[in-house]
């Protein structure tokens, strides 16, 4: 394979994506991602210097609207779906003492 990722590459990508992989996963995804990159990598060779990128398909430019505050009145339903809540707040584990 031309686009061979290393175990370290895959572990780093997984960390950026907030996923944890076992050693077996690493081997599996390394193989699969490399094979996908081999396939999509054909566009690497194209000379596209003078071509503009298309970030979206049609003729839309920036779409603005008035910033109007509305009460969606679904606070209770939203909080009911949350894993952990205190009053009207979402509760999460500590965020400051991370390594």
């Amino acid at each position: 394979m031309q686009h061979l990722l290393s175990n370290e590459d895959v572990a780093h990508i997984a960390y950026l994506a907030r996923l944890s992989l076992t050693e077996d996963d690493l081997e599996k995804y390394k193989k699969e991602l490399s094979s996908i990159l081999d396939h999509v990598g054909v566009i690497e060779g194209l000379n596209l210097t003078n071509v503009e990128p298309s970030y979206q398909p049609l003729f839309l430019k920036n779409v603005f609207r008035k910033d109007i505050v509305k009460d969606s009145q679904i606070t209770e339903e939203v909080l009911k779906e949350a894993p952990a809540v205190k009053e009207t707040m979402f509760v999460v584990p500590p965020i400051l003492d991370e390594a």
Binding site: D9, V10, I13, A14, L16, A17, R18, L19, S20, L21, Y29, E32, L33, S35, I36, L37, H39, V40, G41, V42, I43, E44, L46, L48, V51, E52, P53, S54, Y55, Q56, P57, L58, L60, V63, R65, S72, I74, E77, V78, K80, E81, A82, P83, A84, F90, V92, P93, P94, I95, D97, E98
Partner: protein
């Protein structure tokens, strides 16, 4: 009475209007059939029985109400990535296994306003990533035409529900072919509208610049009617287009004489022999009806699959960052917020979703952005320009919807690239933002027909529907 008697929305509406049965009876027929047969197919993840029956009874009590509603009492199935207030919406994922949305998607509101009754939520590849519905966390859907084969995907449950007569209409979402490919595999009609034709508010995002909601139906008339109901500008989706309301259904006609139609060489060439033979038969037939048909070469389409599998995962890796265990869905506890997020995502996402998130993260990361993602966006421009040029000379383009007939369950699971190749013919329309439709045509090969794809320029759905209707009539 058996629901098979109603082969279309139009027929069911007629039966209701003539009081041959009540809405409640009609809806019960469908639920009875679902309970009896869906164990063979697994089209549905969740049924909306109680609420649907209440709604049906309310319509029956008020049936004389003369306000005409285009879908009054008509059963509709929804892909499970379209959010429904009070009705579980999983996206085929463990991470949303028990999520009850607090609001309705705009398309759901529009369907309800039109009198439609949601019968249930249909199975799908997790987060719409897949081409066979085998990547659902809740088990695959089987093709009603041959249960040893896949129904296609990612909207396989919706396509199969129509094929098995378990609903009269359905909605799916199409990011790279996820409506048209399963429609082709299940022998039904499926439409991807122009990007922005239908509001995406309440569609759980996969790749925002490609996603579009569209209908599945038994025939072209019904598909046009469904699209009329769900389309329209929506302030809640700033990419929804501000264009006049559509009336595709009323304007449908199958007059095709004088149309200029191009057969896309690059996509057709890569199809199996039986698929090529069928589309050639159609071309001969079109010529008999004075359609000007010729082959068109669009060399940049060769790069559409690679461009798509860079752009879609890139957008997905960003869109799926919201599943972090904080506000809704699954949470696996951890020692810190980051640890909780990692555990939640690792446990909640399936293999294909992880694969695409990682691929997207990689191509957006420093050092690879220019080589992969930016280049893919430029290829997208080339493809758009090639379509622009084509539509200067042609009214419509055609090619097969899929390179092959339906494959066996399990056949492509081990090789992601072979799975991706089944979207070869459908992806270009998503990259260009253009509408296209799949309609079954030709002699049966085993239990299947070939899906013919009609592609149109942006907002040119009427022409697309008209040719599709011609193909449908010619097939009868």
């Amino acid at each position: 009475m058996n629901s098979i008697e109603f082969n279309s929305i139009t027929e069911a509406k007629e039966a209701l209007d003539q009081k041959r049965l009540s809405v409640t009876e009609l809806i019960n027929l469908f639920f009875d059939l679902i309970k009896e047969t869906d164990q063979n197919y697994h089209c549905f993840l969740e049924l909306n029985y109680d609420s649907a029956i209440r709604q049906a009874q309310a319509i029956d009590q008020d049936f004389e109400n003369k306000i005409s509603k285009p879908l009054k009492g008509i059963p509709i199935a929804l892909k499970d990535n379209i959010v429904t207030k009070g009705l579980r919406t999983t996206c085929g994922s463990k991470i949303l296994q028990s999520w009850i949305p607090p609001y309705d998607a705009t398309v759901v509101k529009k369907l309800k306003e039109a009198g439609a009754i949601v019968v249930g939520k249909t199975n799908m590849d997790e987060f719409a990533m897949g081409s066979s519905t085998e990547y659902s966390a809740f088990g695959p859907t089987k093709n009603p035409l041959d249960t040893s084969c896949v129904p296609g995907g990612s909207s396989g449950g919706s396509a199969a529900a129509i094929a098995a007569s378990l609903s009269l209409g359905a909605l799916g979402s199409d990011t790279g072919g996820s409506i048209r490919q399963p429609a082709a595999f299940c022998g039904v009609v499926g439409v991807k509208p122009t990007y922005g034709r239908v509001s995406r508010f309440g569609l759980v995002a996969f790749a925002s610049s490609l996603d579009q909601i569209g209908p599945f139906a038994r025939n072209v008339n019904d598909a046009a009617l469904l699209l009329d109901v769900v389309s329209g500008n929506d302030p809640m989706d700033s990419t929804s287009l501000n264009v006049a309301a559509t009336n595709f259904f009323k304007s449908l006609n199958s007059e095709v004489a004088g149309l200029k139609v191009g057969l896309i060489k690059e996509l057709t060439d890569q199809c199996d022999q039986v698929v090529k033979e069928t589309i050639q038969k159609l071309c001969d037939l079109l010529a008999d009806y004075n359609v000007v048909i010729s082959e068109i070469s669009m060399p940049s389409l060769e790069y559409s699959l690679p461009a798509y599998y860079l752009i879609a995962p890139a957008e997905a890796s960003s869109n799926l960052a919201r599943f972090d265990g904080v506000r809704y869905g699954l949470r696996i506890d951890g020692s810190s917020a980051k640890d909780m997020m990692i555990k939640t995502r690792t446990e909640g996402f399936g293999n294909e979703v992880k694969r695409r998130i990682m691929l997207g993260t990689y191509v957006l990361s420093h050092g690879y952005y220019d080589a992969y993602y930016l280049k893919a966006l430029k290829v997208r421009t080339l493809i758009k320009k090639e379509f622009e040029k084509a539509y200067q000379n042609y009214d419509l383009l055609i090619c097969p919807t899929t390179p092959t007939l339906p494959f066996k369950l399990g056949e492509r699971m081990a090789d992601p690239v072979s799975m991706y190749l089944s979207d070869l013919c459908t992806i270009p329309s998503n990259l260009a933002g253009h509408p296209s439709i799949s309609v079954p045509f030709g002699p049966k090969v085993k239990n299947f027909q070939v899906g013919i794809q009609v592609l149109a320029n942006e907002l040119d759905e009427q022409k697309m529907f008209n040719l599709a209707k011609f193909i449908e009539e010619a097939d009868e």
